[in-house]
């Protein structure tokens, strides 16, 4: 099964390489640009996009309270992807002139409204998680309560110092995605 997949894959890959060579060789300006686009994706991702995502993730963890982290992280990810999808419609340096009914929509407003909708959901989700956490806290024992209150700030500093306080902090953050709120609550 594995061998079969592998052999089929190599054959298909070879056919693709042949088609590409037919198109790109002998290497002229078109082939050069195509190869640039082929290599440019992984390079841009590995050297630029992923490091930015890593730094953004680290900053989010520092700045955003634990209860809000999951919805905000997902909101940021959705914002980034939507902006990427809108980019070719907004930046039209090399774009064909819009024709009636095509590429003549108001993408900027469309993007904005979509983001407003996304962040409204983030806001509602975050708020409901805060309310839920507060209700759980009331029910909990008083000593545990204190730990939880300061958990996300204090816990973070302790973690940075190499002290694990994961469980308490984990429970303070409570949830990692919107739907788990219901299960625990």
């Amino acid at each position: 099964m594995r061998i079969l997949l592998f052999v089929a894959g190599v054959a298909v890959l070879g056919w693709g390489a042949f088609l590409l060579a037919e198109f790109a060789l002998p290497l002229g300006p078109q082939g050069m640009v195509a190869l640039g686009w082929l290599l440019g994706g992984p390079l841009a991702h590995d050297l630029l996009v992923a490091p930015i995502a890593a730094v953004a993730g680290m900053l989010l963890v520092r700045v955003v309270p634990a209860t809000w982290r999951a919805p905000v992280q997902v909101g940021v990810a959705i914002t980034a992807v939507l902006t990427l999808l809108a980019f070719p419609l907004l930046w039209r340096e090399f774009g064909a002139a819009p024709s009636p009914g095509l590429h003549d929509g108001d993408t900027a407003t469309g993007l904005l409204l979509t983001l407003v909708a996304v962040w409204s959901v983030v806001l509602v989700t975050g708020t409901s998680r805060v309310l839920l956490a507060a209700r759980n806290e009331k029910r909990a024992a008083p000593d545990e309560d204190r730990i939880r209150c300061g958990a996300f700030t204090r816990g973070y500093r302790l973690r940075m110092a190499g002290v694990g306080l994961g469980r308490t902090r984990g429970r303070a953050s409570g949830v990692t995605s919107p739907r788990r709120v219901d299960r625990r609550g």
């Binding site: 061998i3 997949l5 890959l13 992984p42 959705i78 993408t107 990692t176």
Partner: protein
């Protein structure tokens, strides 16, 4: 040298990779199959025959092509994020086999990004490159799908264990500052879902008012978007010329029809979509003369292949071939009207081809001549 930082995120886990990878693989498979269909509809070869029914089939396959491509963008980013720490694994190369594996992953990621990015720019008809998009997109599609097959073959044991349920998952404390594994996966599905909803209105009527990033608007004349205007095609004068006649050339002889003569023939009205290779679609009610009837007028049989020649002089849109499958279908029309009005000049006045289950690029406008083969 050991890297000074550590990736602590729970998303860097083979269970995450395998789950995102499964859907990414499905998305690419859908893209590949639907893309091949579109390729062979436009470049008929050998045994490939494309039916004229169901009328919406191409609309669905090409819509799927674009939608699954868009969904693949967040999936690819999520998958690469889950394996990103491996990029810094030391030693860089353990063995010749390991070198080949790393190289194949570079090919895979290069081809995947190439397909998704060029495709995304193409639906916006935005070309920040100098090569012909269809040729490159077609060639690299084989490289992408081939390297996916190789990748799955190489990683099969890891995929198997990654997809297995983790019996201890529930008992594990949620020991992390960021998203948990499950949270990362849900965030990924949610992001892909939002990306689809934000764009799919280009073809899915239900989402028309919801998709803020749709590349088609409702501003086209007579409710139908225009991909190529009469002035862009340079046919305004020729199309408005009152002396215009349709020429139908057949082995048995040639006949010319004035617009009035065409309008006096029995008309067929049908609801057929314009379904563009760029993924958008728009159904409309077209009225015109069945191509089969015109063939009958010149002693040719429905089912014969017909070349359709536009007033447009040259280029991609100047000519198309209606296969026998389509000339035999009574819904293949030489349309004179759309949505109850005479065709707008941008929709192909005085007449255009509209046939069921065909890409929009082949629905030739401003028809001047039909040549029966």
């Amino acid at each position: 040298m050991r890297p000074r930082f550590r990736f602590r995120g729970l998303a860097h886990d083979e269970r995450v990779t395998a789950r995102v990878g499964r859907w990414l693989g499905i998305a690419f498979a859908v893209c590949f199959v639907t893309g091949l269909i579109s390729h062979f509809v436009q470049h008929p070869a050998g045994i490939f025959a494309w039916p004229s029914r169901p009328v919406n089939l191409y609309r669905v396959t090409q819509g799927l092509h674009v939608i699954s491509g868009i969904a693949a963008i967040p999936l690819l980013l999520a998958k690469l994020w889950s394996v990103y720490p491996k990029l810094f694994a030391r030693p860089v190369v353990r063995s010749p086999l390991h070198a080949i594996e790393r190289g194949s992953i570079l090919v895979l990621s290069g081809a995947a990004f190439f397909q998704l990015l060029t495709g995304l720019f193409n639906i916006a008809q935005n070309y920040p490159w100098n090569f012909y998009f269809p040729t490159a997109h077609y060639a690299v599609s084989w490289i992408a799908i081939g390297s996916i097959l190789v990748h799955v073959a190489v990683k099969l044991p890891v995929i198997r264990s990654g997809l297995r349920k983790d019996p201890t998952a529930a008992a594990k404390p949620d020991d992390h500052l960021g998203l948990s594994r499950r949270g990362f996966l849900r965030g990924t599905w949610l992001t892909a879902g939002v990306a689809v909803v934000a764009t799919a209105g280009a073809t899915v009527p239900l989402l028309r008012g919801v998709s803020g990033l749709s590349w088609r608007s409702g501003k086209g004349p007579q409710g139908v978007p225009v991909n190529r205007t009469a002035s862009a095609a340079g046919v305004v004068d020729a199309a408005r010329n009152p002396q215009w006649t349709l020429e139908v050339v057949a082995p048995a002889g040639t006949r010319r029809f004035t617009l009035a003569e065409l309008a006096a023939m029995p008309q067929t009205t049908a609801e057929l979509p314009i379904a563009c290779v760029e993924g958008w679609s728009q159904p409309a009610t077209w009225t015109g003369v069945p191509v089969a009837d015109l063939l009958g007028e010149v002693g040719a049989r429905p089912g014969a292949e017909v070349d359709v020649v536009s007033l447009e002089q040259d280029g991609l849109y100047a000519r198309s071939t209606l296969p026998g499958e389509h000339t035999a279908d009574p819904l293949s029309l030489l349309a004179l009207r759309v949505n109850g009005e005479v065709l707008d000049i941008d929709h192909g006045y005085p007449c255009r081809v509209i046939a069921p289950n065909r890409p929009g690029v082949l629905q030739t406008k401003w028809v001047q001549r039909l040549e029966v083969r």
